[in-house]
């Protein structure tokens, strides 16, 4: 509860800052301090020190898993603001408002990690999405940004419509918005669930797959991620996407699981996974722009995160948290370096190791982590995802498919490394301050540390 209320309150506070403070440079410092307070408040909440005792009437359910995810999301946002805060200021004139929207997105994220009712699920998804439509279009003079925002808004509104339709149909089938539905006699179909509910759940599945950009509902992703200002793409592709997965996994663990006697949901997830891995990885191979390549790679990574829906065991829950942390941190790092580059095509990276050895080395660590090479956090993230499926004993073929596509992904991540280290060129970067350099080095160190001791995060789930 702390995180939900405080993030909204900090959003309002940043709004007041926008006209009370004339000095724009101090805004990002205020935002990072607020994020730190938010993180501390959330950790305090995890151990029972809540500031707000509110009777939620079962609308929200706080558990250790959701709380730990909140901490990961807030922590990643903190790292994000520290590394790329300056770039946020450069995007446009309404700097404070961008931070306001980021705080509101966090409010939606914390809501999604604790929802226990389809109403709060809907509110969380919307609070998370609407600020993103605006952030996508924040670079008003750039036509690509405008196009991306409109596209994102229209597609997002359409998927919201599907979600509402799904919620309405499941309500018709069960007579309740609660996650755990009591299925009494007239609502029963085949002894388990009403047909209306199954239809509604299918709609919900489609709209959630849209939000996490799983194929075949991914068509908006490359254009939106490519068109949005790079700083905000970084935020959208990491924290927001991970939160979408937390919401998705909860929906699957309760509602889909209850009706699994009627519909073979696991087969549907398997089809989604194979399609997502195929589209994401194969298309990423052919991209010439690093930013667009990262957009497709984020689709491919979503495919790996979807593995947790099939297994839904303790390894899957641990794995999705580790994946959220590893993927968010690595992608934030890559984007932090990307926004410093003048030319974001693959050629723009040629010879970076000569001119900026520190940036090239850290970028290599981030890319290795994304491709899942051992000793980086990404390896254990992928390992947990695949091991969780193996533990269920079924769908072993899916694990083999996953490993094959992980091998494909190594190819396009290594193209960037190859460009940085083995090609001649004179890459143009903006001025790199020493503090930025130390920041990315610390982030890379954190990723390696998590790659050696993944329990640094996972222990928090139990102690």
């Amino acid at each position: 509860m702390n995180a939900i209320i405080l993030s909204a309150a900090f959003g309002v506070m940043m709004m007041l800052c926008s006209f009370l403070l004339k000095n724009k440079g101090s805004l990002r410092h205020i935002a990072s301090i607020a994020l730190l307070i938010l993180l501390v408040a959330n950790i305090a909440d995890t151990y029972g020190h809540t500031m707000f005792l509110i009777n939620t009437h079962g609308m929200l359910l706080f558990n250790r898993f959701g709380m730990l995810f909140n901490s990961i999301a807030i922590g990643s946002t903190f790292v994000y603001v520290l590394l790329t805060g300056k770039e946020i200021e450069k995007t446009g004139t309404y700097v404070a408002e961008y931070f306001v929207l980021i705080f509101f997105v966090l409010c939606g994220v914390t809501l999604l990690s604790s929802y226990n009712n389809l109403l709060t699920l809907f509110l969380g998804i919307e609070i998370m999405s609407i600020p993103l439509y605006i952030l996508t279009g924040s670079d008003k003079r750039n036509m690509k940004s405008n196009e991306a925002a409109l596209k994102y808004f229209l597609m997002g509104a359409f998927s919201t419509g599907l979600m509402l339709m799904g919620i309405a149909l499941t309500y018709g089938g069960t007579g309740t918005f609660n996650m755990e539905a009591v299925r009494t006699f007239p609502n029963i179909y085949k002894g388990l669930a009403s047909f209306l509910e199954i239809l509604g759940l299918l709609f919900l599945l489609v709209s959630m797959a849209f939000k996490v950009s799983a194929a075949p509902f991914h068509f908006w992703t490359p254009d939106v991620y490519d068109g949005a200002p790079s700083v905000f793409t970084s935020f959208m592709a990491t924290i927001v996407k991970a939160a979408g997965f937390i919401a998705f996994i909860k929906l699957c663990a309760v509602r889909m699981n209850e009706t699994s006697g009627v519909v073979n949901w696991q087969m549907i997830y398997a089809i989604l996974i194979v399609a997502t891995l195929l589209v994401g990885n194969i298309t990423a191979v052919f991209q010439q722009s690093v930013k667009r390549m990262l957009a497709y790679s984020s689709i491919a990574q979503a495919g790996f995160m979807l593995f947790s829906l099939i297994s839904l065991n303790d390894l899957a829950y641990e794995g999705i948290l580790l994946y959220a942390a590893a993927y968010s941190l690595a992608t934030i790092g890559i984007f932090a370096i990307l926004v410093k580059m003048k030319d974001i095509s693959l050629e723009g990276y040629n010879g970076l190791a000569k001119t900026q050895p520190a940036l090239a080395a850290t970028n290599m660590v981030f890319l290795l982590s994304l491709s899942g090479i051992p000793l980086t956090a990404g390896f254990f993230a992928k390992y947990y995802m695949l091991a969780a499926v193996l533990k269920t004993g079924t769908y072993t073929w899916l694990v083999i498919v996953g490993v094959l596509f992980a091998a494909v992904s190594v190819y396009y991540y290594f193209r960037v490394i190859q460009a940085m280290y083995f090609k001649e060129g004179n890459p143009q970067t903006e001025v790199i301050t020493p503090s930025f350099k130390y920041g990315v080095i610390a982030l890379a160190a954190l990723i390696i540390l998590l790659g050696i001791f993944p329990n640094l995060i996972l222990n928090w789930l139990y102690f």
Partner: protein, 167 residues
Amino acid sequence: MSTSEILFWFLSVLALFSAIMVLVSKNPVHSVLWLIVVFFAISGHYLLLNAQFLAIVNIIVYAGAIMVLFLFVIMLMNLNKGTEPQKNIWMIFSGVISGGLLLWIFISASISAGDIVGKNALLKDGDIGLIQNLGKVLFSEYALPFEISSVLFLSAMVGAVVIGKKN
């Protein structure tokens, strides 16, 4: 036949007829006007179910705000008979098939859903739709989503400023 039954059949026929007219009208402005008739007929149904608040909200929000928006869009884009795009035969074909499949699913869902068959709506009595009960539920059981939706509206307002204000 009681009065409410006569009203029910009249409103149902009106709603269905005007919904079909929305589809078959060649002129988009006529379609929109027929759609308003649909909304009024549905509001009449709500009144029959003793849900006055829902009926009024339906008219204010749909017939009022959203329809005006539709009309604006149609007028701004200057859509009329002449500008109707030529439709590809395959487009129509796939549209009919996918629409028909959806209709099929909905009909079979309604038929096999045990909770709909053989259950009558409460006509004239039943006080779920009264604004008093709605308010009580909204500020007790649903207080949390009600309050949290303010964040949603606030972010939409901030967005309107960020996108709309001139530099």
